[in-house]
C-alpha cells in the first residue's frame, strides 16, 4: 500500500490525538434489516436537514403518491421533502420534532398501496451539473446523522482542486449499525455509487474508510476496492483504528489523507469530499430508479427495547410505532434518544416523527443511562486530552461564564463539533458539551466568529 498504509498514517498522526474508547454495544450488528409494515400515517416535517426549511407544496385533501414532492424551498442549501406513503394529506400544521423544535409538517394517511408517483423516472446524468441537480431532486441529505444536503457537498467549487472522495463507513457511535448492515446487504449499490461519483466528478482516488472492529464489512468493502482493477486501481480500502470520533468528517479526512481541514472550513478546502456509505448506496439506487429518499434504515436498540434490530422505515413514521414493531419496551424507559449515545438528542416523548437524518432510536433504563453527580473540576486535563480538536473545554467554560466572546473566539470554540468526548471522559461528571453550546451562544450573541 506504500504511503497510504493505514498503520503508517495512524502512526504519523499518533494515537494520542484525542478521542475516547467507548464501548461499542453493537447489539444489532448480526441481524438482517427488516422492512417495517406500511404505517397508517406519516408526518413529514419541513425541516429535516441543515439549511433552509421547506414550505408545503400540497394542501389538506390532496392525494399524493410515493416520491411526490410535498415540500420544497427555493433556497440553495435545502432539500425537498417527498411523500413516503401514498394516500391523502390529512393535515398541514406545526409539529414537535425530536430535538424539541417546532416545524410545519405534512401528515399523510396511507391508503396501504404504496403507489409510486407517476412522474418518477430515472434521471439522465452525464455531467456534474446534472448530477448535482438530480441529487437535489432526490431529497438526499447526509444519512450519517448530520443531515447536510448532499447536492451542496457534491457541488464543489470549481476553483478548488478536489482529488479525493472518502466513503465514510466508520460508524463510530456505539449501538448504531445501519452503515454496517448497508455494507453487508447493499455492497453492490455502494460500489455503483462509488464509481458513478468518481466518474462524473473526476476524483483521482477514492478511499473507503472503515473502523477495524467490523471485520465482515472490511472483507466486503475490500472486494469492492479490489474489483476496481479495470478502473485504474484508484479505489482503496483503509482500515482505521476504532476510536470515537473516528467517523467525524474532519477526523476522517485527517485519518484518510493526513490533511487538516482549516478551522471554519470544509473538507473541500483540502481537496476532499466525504460521503456516508449509506448515502453513497442511495445515489446509485436513485440514479437507477429515480425513486427519491422516502425511507431509511434505523437502528432500534438499547437495553429497554425488547427486540433490538435494524428496520427499514418510511420517513415520517412515529417513533412509538417503530418501537412497537421491535417488541416495545421491556421496562420503563428513562431516556429515549434520537441518534447515538454520544451525539444524539434525548427526546421528551415518542410521538415524534422519524427524520431523514435519524440513524437510531435508543431507549435506556435508569441504570443504563449512567448519570454521574457533578463535582468540582479537579483540573485533571482529561477533557483536553480527549478533545479531537485540541480545545481546553474547562477554559472555554470559564470564559463562557464571563461572556468573553473575544477570548472564546481565540480559544477556537467554534471548531467544537460537540462530539462529547470531553464530557464522556470527565471524572467530575461536568456537562461540558452543554457548556460548549453555551459558549457558542455567547459568541453568536456578541456577533463574534
Amino acid at each position: 500500500m506504500g504511503k497510504l498504509s493505514p498503520d503508517a498514517i495512524l502512526k504519523a498522526i499518533g494515537k494520542g490525538k484525542g478521542g475516547v474508547a467507548v464501548a461499542h454495544n453493537k447489539l444489532t450488528a448480526e441481524k438482517e434489516t427488516v422492512r417495517i409494515p406500511i404505517p397508517e400515517t406519516v408526518t413529514l416535517p419541513m425541516l429535516q436537514h441543515i439549511g433552509a426549511p421547506c414550505t408545503p407544496t400540497v394542501k389538506k385533501g390532496d392525494y399524493v403518491g410515493v416520491g411526490q414532492i410535498v415540500g420544497d424551498s427555493d433556497k440553495y442549501v435545502s432539500a425537498p421533502i417527498h411523500a413516503s406513503v401514498s394516500g391523502k394529506v390529512i393535515a398541514v400544521q406545526d409539529v414537535k420534532l425530536a430535538n424539541g423544535k417546532m416545524a410545519p409538517a405534512v401528515t399523510i394517511e396511507s391508503d396501504g398501496e404504496m403507489k409510486l408517483f407517476e412522474g418518477i423516472e430515472a434521471p439522465r446524468v452525464t455531467n456534474k451539473a446534472e448530477l448535482v441537480k438530480a441529487i437535489r431532486e432526490s431529497g438526499l441529505v447526509g444519512l450519517g446523522g448530520a443531515g447536510f444536503p448532499t447536492h451542496v457537498k457534491l457541488n464543489t467549487p470549481e476553483d478548488k482542486d478536489i482529488d479525493t472522495l472518502i466513503i465514510n463507513a466508520a460508524e463510530c457511535e456505539p449501538y448504531i449499525t445501519v452503515d454496517y448492515r448497508e455494507c453487508l446487504e447493499n455492497s453492490w449499490n455502494i460500489m455503483g455509487g462509488v464509481y458513478t461519483l468518481q466518474e462524473i466528478l473526476g476524483f483521482k482516488r477514492v478511499i473507503i474508510a472503515v473502523e477495524d472492529n467490523k471485520p465482515q464489512a472490511i472483507k466486503i468493502l475490500k472486494d469492492i476496492a479490489d474489483s476496481d482493477i479495470d478502473h485504474g486501481n484508484i479505489v482503496r480500502l483503509m482500515t482505521l483504528k476504532s476510536r470515537y470520533p473516528q467517523g467525524a468528517e474532519k477526523m476522517m479526512v485527517l485519518s484518510a489523507t493526513g490533511r487538516k481541514v482549516p478551522a471554519g472550513g470544509l473538507p473541500s478546502d483540502v481537496g476532499c469530499v466525504v460521503m456516508n456509505v449509506a448515502s453513497t448506496a442511495f445515489v446509485s439506487r436513485y440514479l437507477k430508479t429515480g425513486k427519491p429518499l422516502t425511507s431509511r434504515s434505523v437502528t432500534v436498540s438499547g437495553n429497554c427495547i425488547k427486540d433490538p434490530m435494524n428496520v427499514r422505515v418510511p420517513i415520517g413514521m412515529e417513533f412509538q410505532q417503530i418501537i412497537d414493531f421491535c417488541g416495545g419496551f421491556t421496562e420503563e424507559p428513562y431516556k429515549i434518544l434520537s441518534g447515538g449515545p454520544m451525539m444524539g438528542t434525548a427526546v421528551t416523548g415518542t410521538d415524534v416523527p422519524l427524520l431523514k437524518s435519524n440513524n437510531a432510536i435508543l431507549a435506556f433504563s435508569k441504570n443504563a443511562a449512567r448519570i454521574k453527580p457533578e463535582r468540582e473540576c479537579i483540573r485533571c486535563g482529561r477533557c483536553h486530552a480527549a478533545c479531537p480538536m485540541s480545545l481546553i473545554p474547562t477554559q472555554i467554560e470559564k470564559f463562557a461564564a464571563l461572556k468573553d466572546a473575544e477570548m472564546l473566539s481565540k480559544l477556537g470554540t467554534s471548531v467544537c463539533m460537540e462530539c462529547g468526548s470531553c464530557a464522556y471522559s470527565c471524572p467530575a461528571g461536568k456537562p461540558l458539551v452543554q457548556h460548549m453550546r453555551l459558549a457558542k451562544e455567547v459568541m453568536r450573541q456578541a456577533g463574534v466568529k
Partner: protein
C-alpha cells in the same frame, strides 16, 4: 410506555466513562501504600503513628472547614486522605505529633480550602505545609534519625543529600564519593534502593515509589511527562556538574525527595499544567530549580521549593504553551501580506 412516563432530557453525551474523582484519589492512595509500608519498616512503628495522625487531622480539617464555610462536604472524594499521606511522607519520623496537626491545618485549611477546595488551590497543600513547618521548626524538621532497629535510642544523622552537598565539585569527585561510601556516611547502593537510609518517612524507599509510579502511569492517572522531564533535567545537571560521575548522579536522584516529589507531588492536577507541552516545561522548570538549589544553594534539598515555585508559574506556563486548536489558521493579515509579496 404508559402516558405517565416522564422521560429524562439532558445534553449529550448520554454515556459516561466510569472514572470518578474518588476513583482517581483511591488509585493515588493505592500507589502510595508500598512506600508507606516501607517507611514503617525502615523507621519503625512511630512512622505509622505520624501517617495516621496526618491523615486523620487532614480529613478532620477538611470536614470542619467545609462545614464552617457552609459548603458541601468533600471528604468523600478522598483527596484529604491523599494530602495527609503525602504530608506524612514529607516529615521526619521523629517530628512531634502536634506539629503534624499544625502541618495538616496549613495544608487543608490554608493552602486548599481557603482557595476554594479541590481543583482551585494554586499551591500543592502537602508541599506548602512541609515548607511552613520547615521554616517554622527547622531543627525538628531536619532532625533525621538513622534507620534503626532501636527507635528509643534513635541517632540523629545526616541524609545522603547532606553528605553529597559537602562534596567539593571542583575536586576529585570519585575519590570523595569513595571515601563517603567507605566511611559509611553514604549508604550502599542496595540500601539506597530499598530505603535503608536517613530521610523523610515516604521518600526513602525508591523501589516502593517507582512501583507506585508505574501503577499510576498504567492506570492513566498521571502522565510520564512531568516526572520524566523533571528527573531527566536533574540527571543532566548532576552529570554535567560532577564531570559525568554516575555514582554521584544516581545518589542525587535517589538520595532525597526527588522521586516522591516528581511522581506524586509535581503531578498534582490542581497545581500543574493541563497540556502536554505545559507539563514538560513545568517538569524541566522543577528540574532546573532543584538542581540549582542543590548545587549552589545553602540547602541540601530543593524539591519542595522548586515545585512550589513552579506551582506559582503554572498560569504563565499555560498561557505560553496554549495548544493550537485543530485547523488553526494564522491571522489573515499575514497571509494576505504574503500573497501580496508573492
Amino acid at each position: 410506555m404508559s402516558d405517565k412516563t416522564i422521560l429524562t432530557v439532558s445534553a449529550s453525551p448520554h454515556t459516561k466513562s466510569s472514572g470518578t474523582v474518588t476513583g482517581i484519589m483511591l488509585d493515588v492512595i493505592i500507589s502510595l501504600i508500598p512506600a508507606a509500608f516501607a517507611g514503617v519498616a525502615v523507621f519503625g512503628i512511630r512512622a505509622a503513628l505520624v501517617i495516621a495522625v496526618c491523615i486523620i487531622s487532614c480529613v478532620l480539617f477538611e470536614f470542619l472547614s467545609r462545614k464552617i464555610m457552609k459548603r458541601s462536604s468533600s471528604i468523600g472524594d478522598l483527596s484529604a486522605v491523599v494530602t495527609g499521606l503525602l504530608l506524612a511522607f514529607n516529615l521526619p519520623v521523629g517530628i512531634p505529633i502536634w506539629m503534624c496537626v499544625v502541618g495538616s491545618f496549613v495544608a487543608i485549611v490554608i493552602a486548599k480550602q481557603m482557595f476554594g477546595g479541590i481543583g482551585h488551590n494554586f499551591a500543592n497543600p502537602a508541599i506548602t505545609a512541609r515548607i511552613v513547618l520547615l521554616v517554622s521548626f527547622a531543627s525538628a524538621m531536619t532532625g533525621f534519625t538513622a534507620p534503626a532497629k532501636n527507635t528509643v535510642d534513635a541517632l540523629t544523622t545526616a541524609t545522603p543529600l547532606a553528605h553529597l552537598s559537602g562534596i567539593d565539585l571542583s575536586g576529585d569527585i570519585s575519590a570523595q564519593m569513595d571515601m563517603l561510601l567507605a566511611d559509611g556516611d553514604l549508604p550502599k547502593f542496595f540500601n539506597m534502593l530499598f530505603g535503608v537510609r536517613a530521610g523523610c518517612i515516604g521518600e526513602v524507599c525508591s523501589v516502593a515509589l517507582i512501583l507506585g509510579a508505574i501503577y499510576l502511569i498504567l492506570r492513566g492517572i498521571i502522565s510520564i511527562a512531568i516526572p520524566g522531564s523533571y528527573i531527566a533535567t536533574v540527571a543532566v545537571f548532576m552529570l554535567i556538574s560532577s564531570g559525568f560521575n554516575v555514582t554521584f548522579t544516581v545518589y542525587e536522584l535517589l538520595g532525597g525527595g526527588l522521586l516522591l516529589g516528581a511522581f506524586f507531588m509535581a503531578t498534582d492536577y490542581s497545581t500543574s499544567p493541563i497540556t502536554m507541552k505545559g507539563k514538560i516545561v513545568f517538569g524541566i522548570g522543577c528540574g532546573i530549580l532543584t538542581s540549582v538549589i542543590r548545587l549552589f544553594g545553602s540547602l541540601p534539598e530543593g524539591v519542595s521549593y522548586s515545585i512550589l515555585l513552579m506551582n506559582i508559574a503554572v498560569p504563565l506556563i499555560e498561557k505560553a504553551t496554549a495548544p493550537k486548536y485543530f485547523g488553526f489558521i494564522k491571522k489573515k493579515k499575514e497571509k494576505k501580506a504574503k500573497e501580496g509579496a508573492a
